[in-house]
């Protein structure tokens, strides 16, 4: 790298919180790093590491309640902290631009998109309104937005969430800033959409030649987009260096620990060997031909049908992972199992006995055996009850245990989930996120259930904390013989922990079977899209993936619930027009217990996977079409 003047220099930056009734609390404790021209620097850390706070310092801004207390934030040689307000205002937008996590919240609902995109440039006297409009249209084109000449005339609620995310990028780039600050811009997105947005950002950063600060907690994402990494913990820099070096040869203990907590990419053979010791003749929980949805429609059917004809069985002592993008019906399936949402068709069986569809009709001992663990421990624990009461209630309610016996059992369970006994008398607000999630699990376990339904229990947790919870679940499964239904959008987590995987798409099971079977060919095209979309912690992965046709076909689409045909039709690289969109796909048996719902037979699918994974040329496309036509005739 040439010895150029850095775009941004952070020198011993200190930021503190000043509560009105307590002494100041340091949030950022002396952080230094440089951003050189054309370079993308990633600030990586977990919640509370101060990464967003540091990135905002480059705009001379702190969130309400926070104050600069030392150091410099030099943007193009000028300290953004000490320059006067008017100069600060002029530099914001012109030299440095910010992209927030949620585009939906950052657009003003009452103003047209075009005005919001161009306003900063016009107000700064950079260009006329006409010139700004032309520049904006250029960017809409570069970001592959539909209707680039008219999208600016719309209001934010009139375009989709993914489009807003890209429009925000246009808003940031309109003045060609020297520095872009991207604050977790892909965290709220599904894996498949994430690739698309990452690709767009990377392309635009390269074309515009801006430097960037990229804030994230996701190491795999960093590997794709960053040149340089700054690892933060509790407001201090643990380690910094080129991306290759940090990822391949981390030196600091915290970085190593962070890397260790990242789940490896999903592959066959990395799960734990299936244990048979807890198995019985009948599955613990079985779902047969279940359909369900929300609202009341015609003739007893739900108004919005989310699940269609689902068959899943959970063997005793097994972990069944349910995977799919948001909107595929994963949580709905768990709610049907628990009886929170009665199925409109089909039945749920517990130890071979049919359960009543609705919760209030089920017997208390049936309820006891199927426990539901909610995703957000923050809202799932009553803030006005003590940890002891929360864990103790199922003991009293199901087993009539009270008094000293209950207290001892509560302490036993707390020990089991690795919570210190002194937490018994505390309220949930006094615990950290991971500790609350343990209480949440402990409450489910206290009922002494046969099946624990875990709805995205690690999704809201930081990497290391989430990894610890998974470790706990693995141990509990071995010790207690409880079956788990583990719902997650994160294929890596599921594949290292589950015995069987159920892949849901738009309310239907597209593939299911033992984890090693599902993760090795033949794949359902959707499973394949999911596997290829999980970012790998390796530089260059993004480019490789973008070459595959799965990505090309899949990333553009969104989950859409369809009435007829295969729901994956509009995103499938192997689709057969006239067949896949009109007829429900047959279920094909592969190995024992491994099923794929697809119009192609399994050999065809497997063969397609051996073909070079590239975007098809016109000639190749013709070949595929020809093949497809043959299948249609047959």
């Amino acid at each position: 790298m040439s010895k150029k003047q850095p775009i941004f220099e952070c020198r011993d930056l200190k930021i503190e919180a000043r509560p009105w009734d307590a002494p100041p609390i340091p949030i950022v404790k002396g952080v230094s790093f440089d951003v050189n021209p054309g370079e993308v620097v990633a600030l990586i850390g977990e919640s509370g590491s101060g990464k967003t706070t540091i990135s905002l310092a480059s705009l001379g801004y702190t969130k309400p309640g926070l104050h600069f207390s030392g150091g410099e934030a030099l943007l193009l040689g000028k300290d953004m902290i000490t320059i006067d307000a008017e100069e600060k205002r002029l530099r914001r937008g012109e030299h440095v631009a910010y992209l927030a996590q949620s585009a939906a919240a950052t657009f003003n609902p009452a103003l047209k998109i075009g005005e919001q995109v161009t306003e900063s440039a016009v107000l700064h006297g950079e260009m006329s309104q006409e010139a700004a409009n032309i520049r904006a249209e250029e960017l809409y084109n570069a970001l592959e937005l539909p209707d680039p000449d008219r999208i600016g005339g719309r209001y934010p609620h009139q375009v989709s969430g993914g489009q807003l995310q890209r429009l925000m990028a246009a808003m940031a780039l309109v003045e060609k800033p020297s520095l872009l600050v991207l604050d977790e811009p892909t965290t709220a997105l599904d894996v498949t959409t994430q690739i698309e947005v990452l690709k767009a950002f990377k392309k635009v950063i390269e074309e515009e030649g801006s430097a960037a600060i990229y804030v994230t907690h996701d190491l795999a994402v960093v590997a794709q987009i960053a040149d340089h990494i700054v690892v933060l913990y509790s407001g201090e820099v643990m380690e910094q260096g080129p991306v290759e070096e940090i990822i391949n040869r981390p030196k600091h203990a915290y970085t190593k620990r962070l890397m260790a907590a990242v789940r490896p990419s999903p592959e066959a053979g990395q799960g734990i060997a299936t244990s048979k010791e807890h198995m019985r003749d009948v599955p613990a929980l079985q779902v047969k031909n279940v359909s369900a949805g929300y609202g009341r429609g015609a003739n007893g059917q739900p108004a919005v049908k989310v699940l269609r004809d689902i068959n899943v069985s959970v063997e005793r002592g097994h972990v069944v992972g349910v995977i799919g993008e948001s909107g595929c019906g994963k949580s709905t399936l768990a709610r049907v199992m628990a009886g929170l949402l009665p199925a409109s068709e089909g039945e749920v069986l517990l130890d071979g006995n049919v359960l009543k569809p609705a919760l209030q009709d089920r017997a208390r001992d049936e309820l006891q055996l199927v426990q539901f663990v909610f995703q957000m421990a923050d809202t799932a624990l009553n803030p006005r009850q003590t940890i002891g009461d929360i864990i103790g209630r199922p003991l009293t309610f199901y087993q009539g245990i009270t008094g000293r016996e209950r207290r001892e059992k509560v302490l036993d369970i707390m020990r089991m989930v690795e919570l210190p006994p002194e937490f018994e008398g505390r309220q949930p607000a006094e615990l950290s996120g991971g500790q609350k999630q343990r209480v949440n699990l402990a409450r489910g376990l206290a009922a002494n259930p046969e099946v624990l339904l875990c709805d995205e229990v690690t999704s809201a947790l930081d990497t290391i904390v989430g990894a610890n919870v998974i470790k706990l679940l693995e141990r509990l499964r071995k010790e207690t013989g409880v079956s788990f239904v583990f719902i997650s959008h994160d294929l890596s987590t599921v594949s290292s922990f589950a015995d069987e995987i159920v892949v849901l798409y738009a309310g239907r099971v597209v593939e299911q079977g033992p984890v090693d079977e599902v993760l090795s060919p033949p794949f359902h095209p959707y499973t394949r899209l999911l596997i290829t979309s999980v970012p790998e912690m390796r530089v260059g992965w993004l480019e490789d993936t973008m070459e595959t046709r799965e990505a090309a076909a899949g990333i553009a689409g969104a989950v859409e619930i369809t009435e007829v045909g295969c729901p994956f039709f509009n995103r499938c690289p192997l689709k057969i027009d006239g067949v896949c969109d009109t007829q429900a796909p047959p279920i094909r048996q592969h190995a024992k217990g491994h099923q794929i719902a697809c119009h192609h037979d399994l050999d065809e699918i497997e063969e397609s996977e051996h073909q070079p994974q590239k975007v098809l040329t016109g000639y190749e496309r013709a070949l595929v079409d020809e093949e497809a036509a043959k299948v249609t005739k047959a």
Binding site: L59, R92, G93, T106
Partner: protein
């Protein structure tokens, strides 16, 4: 959107109907036999029956209700129980006075509140904001008559600037009338504005906390434009809502103020009617006030529907 507005208007009409039924039941059905009350315990059965017939009390309740509401709709409000005069004539003399006063109060208080609310919201935590917020907090916590007697004591009695009693002979010009009414108008402006200022400030500050305002700050948009374009455009619905609600509050405020200043308006007429238990008069005045109130609340609702960009520009 127009469907929603239409729906709100229908609900408003239903509410006005419910109000009329309530007033009818409360004043005519629950208290018992009006003829008995008017003639007292010593009345002969013959005179009772005659009065009942005269008042129409011998008919069934639904018939009584519909004849009452029917007469109300054509402007035939009945005969005052106290003086024997027609209620139309009593009200006709007074209603103009009340409308005159409330109109002036509205014209002063609405711009005043919006401006003060905006100023407070632009400088949160600064001295001017603290003065405005603590002043208005004090004012909304005290009874309306408290403000009135302080103004009377200092402006009328101690300083002698304005008259303490607001009597209009009807021959004064506009400015003379305003001068005579300075105290009641001042009192009403103060009590109505206090609430409006607070709610305007809260409405804008609420918007000022949104991520899109933070984004505007980070884009380098000047403060004036942030408040006047980004924030105000989103706060306008809530503010119009607040204004309509507080004008509805005027309906109550006017009762106390007309009484304390002996101002010959509709509210004073109604309070006098309550004291002499002149039921037909109370019914008529009650219907006028309550209908106005429901209409103002309706306007508030419609304002918040119409100002919502999501409803104004459907997908």
């Amino acid at each position: 959107m127009w469907q929603m507005v239409l729906r709100r208007i229908l609900i408003g009409l239903v509410l006005i109907w419910v109000v009329s039924v309530f007033i009818f039941i409360l004043t005519q059905v629950l208290p018992g036999d009006a003829a008995q009350i008017r003639l007292g315990q010593q009345a002969t059965p013959e005179s009772l029956a005659a009065l009942r017939k005269e008042l129409g009390l011998d008919r069934s309740l639904p018939v009584q209700y519909f004849s009452w509401i029917g007469n109300l709709l054509i402007g035939n409000l009945g005969i005052s129980a106290a003086g024997g005069a027609t209620i139309e004539s009593l009200i006709g003399n007074r209603i103009g006075n009340t409308v005159f006063m409330t109109a002036i109060v509205t014209l002063i208080s609405v711009p005043l509140s919006v401006v003060l609310g905006l100023i407070a919201a632009m400088f949160p935590g600064r001295l001017i904001d603290r003065v405005i917020t603590s002043g208005t907090l004090g004012l909304i916590a005290v009874p309306d008559f408290f403000v009135a007697i302080f103004l009377i004591l200092f402006l009328a009695v101690q300083l002698g600037w304005v008259p303490a009693v607001s009597y209009l002979s009807g021959s004064e010009g506009f400015w003379k009338s305003v001068y005579v009414l300075a105290l009641p108008i001042g009192t009403l402006v103060i009590v109505v504005s206090a609430q409006m200022i607070r709610m305007t400030r809260a409405g804008i500050l609420n918007v000022m906390g949104s991520p899109y305002i933070e984004m505007a700050i980070l884009k380098g948009v000047p403060r004036k434009r942030i408040i006047l374009r980004h924030a105000l455009l989103n706060a306008i619905g809530p503010i119009v809502n607040v204004i309509a609600l507080n004008l509805a509050y005027l309906v109550s405020g006017v009762v106390v103020i007309e009484t304390i200043f002996a101002y010959p308006g509709l509210a004073k007429l109604m309070v006098d009617g309550v004291q002499t238990r002149d039921i037909p008069l109370v019914q008529a005045c009650g219907m006028i006030f309550c209908t106005t109130y429901v209409v103002l609340i309706l306007i508030a609702d419609i304002a918040s529907i119409v100002s919502n960009p999501r409803l104004r520009h459907p997908k």
